[in-house]
Amino acid sequence: MITLGIDVGNLLTKAVLLDRDSLVASAIMPTTGNVVSEIDGLVERVLSDAGVKRDDVGAVACTGSGADLAGEVDVAEDAVTCIAAAGAYYLPEINMVVDVGGQSITSVLLDEDGDVMNFMRNDKCASGSGRFLEVMSNAVGVGVEDIDSAVTGATKTVPISSQCGVFAESEVITHVNAGEEPADIVAGLCDSVASIVSAQARRFSSGDRYTLTGGVARIAAVSTRVQDKMSGTFQEFPFDPRLAACIGAALLAGLEDIDI
């Protein structure tokens, strides 16, 4: 069965088409305000990319903050359940998914069956989120997409002590004005994000086999630093980690067909 997953995130809206458990097509665009037309546009794109007719889609699932705006869907699940489903299905050995999205950090502890046993989520405060990284890397004059290339030239790590995004931004500007190298400051930012993320994840001490999902997981300089700070075993999510919740939704839509 072909299933369609839609995830309306705070910063990005995503759509995927799964043929059973294989990813056929995906599309991502920024979440603006017009969620309904964004979803329509993304759905058109994945359908035409995959050469699939709308009628051939067996089930539609939606997750994220705009789930209620997606119109009629077969499955509407919260992001935590979807992230867990995607992690547990493709990486059956793991027992924790740590998702660092645009505006949140979520650690989901899985039981032996891959179901959600417990989770922690910070979405009240930008600290350590993608937005935090974006605000601060912009203050150094480096775009989020360029963090990995910027950090390769680092010879040291400039420590960032503030956890608050607003205060950390001032701290970064102070470092820039003091003549610190952008690469060294960016290394400090990545280290700061990794510390905040791993501090949350480590509170689930039994979560010793984990994967990282969400947009921040794409940044190797952050991902490797998180791994350095965690004691458990890391496994890489097999798709674009921004799509984890969306893929999880699509998997759940085809649940009768698939044994998670």
Binding site: G33, K124, C125, A126, R131, Q163, C164, G165, F167, N177
Partner: protein
């Protein structure tokens, strides 16, 4: 014989000179208070030197004329080590002693500065009895209002009057300054009224301060100090929430830390 206080904050630095009636030429007017405020320099020592240097120049007083100087705020120890002050005292005690010197009936001081917020309790003698502070998160500090006024496209000083004129209130769902910025931008794009947004921003600010105040308790009388005390809307929202009428300081509330330091300087040489 002037006594001096220097307060270097995160955004601004203040210098205060107080001269009491024993200065011959000032005998007729009793206590005279001179003050000056600047935007901070990259390092606290430079801020201290500049703010006090400019005040002395304006007032025609020489460095050597200062009887005793107390430094407070950011880098207060450095300011003292470099000989600009004879002693340094924490800004918490200085706000306490400054507020108490202005109004001896004060028991609670709500000090909201550029990068922190404090609720300070003092006893009848003006000595510190308890305090709570937030300097970890920009929410509930001057920085939050600064970010918000920039987002609204209005001056920092205009935010209070703007909120005061509001007929409605758009409450913010985000506490985090970074998320609130996104939220306010979104409301602006939807064409919502700026003054209604300013009222929502004020409410959010007051909610954070109240959360802090609850941890230490509020005893009457209450005075607000620090730069944010000049925001009329935040003041009035807090008065409503606390159910008290706050004391109005007779000097600029942003000067009270430096004034308290000068009061401590006078006390240190035993003339106060």
């Amino acid at each position: 014989m002037p006594f001096a206080g220097i307060d270097v904050g995160s955004l601004t630095a203040q210098a205060v000179l107080i001269e009491d009636g024993r200065t011959p030429m000032l005998k007729s007017i009793g206590v005279r208070l001179l003050s000056h405020s600047i935007r901070v320099k990259p390092n606290p020592l430079e801020s201290a030197r500049t703010v006090m240097g400019e005040l002395l120049e304006e007032s025609g007083i020489a460095w050597d004329d200062i009887t005793y100087c107390v430094s407070t705020g950011y880098g207060r120890d450095k300011v003292q080590e470099n000989g600009l002050a004879q002693a340094n005292v924490s800004e918490i005690s200085c706000h306490g002693s400054g507020a108490h010197a202005l109004a001896p009936q004060v028991r609670t001081i709500i000090d909201i500065g550029g990068q922190d917020a404090k609720v300070i309790r003092v006893d009848a003698a003006g000595d510190l009895s308890n305090f709570v502070m937030n300097d970890k998160c920009a929410a509930g500090t001057g920085r939050f209002l600064e970010v918000m006024s920039r987002t609204l496209g209005v001056g920092f000083e205009d935010l209070g009057p703007l909120a005061f004129r509001a007929r409605g209130k758009v409450e913010l769902s985000s506490r985090c300054s970074i998320f609130a910025e996104t939220e306010v931008l979104h409301y602006l794009q939807k064409g919502m009224d700026k003054s209604d947004l300013a009222a929502g921003i004020t409410k959010s600010m007051a909610d954070r301060v109240m959360a802090l105040a609850r941890r230490v308790g509020i005893e009457k009388e209450v005075m607000m100090t620090g730069g944010v005390a000049k925001n009329v809307a935040v003041r009035s929202e807090l008065e409503k929430m606390l159910g008290v009428h706050m004391l109005a300081p007779s000097i600029d509330p942003q000067l009270i830390g430096a004034y308290g330091a000068a009061v401590m300087a006078r006390r240190a040489v035993g003339s106060g």
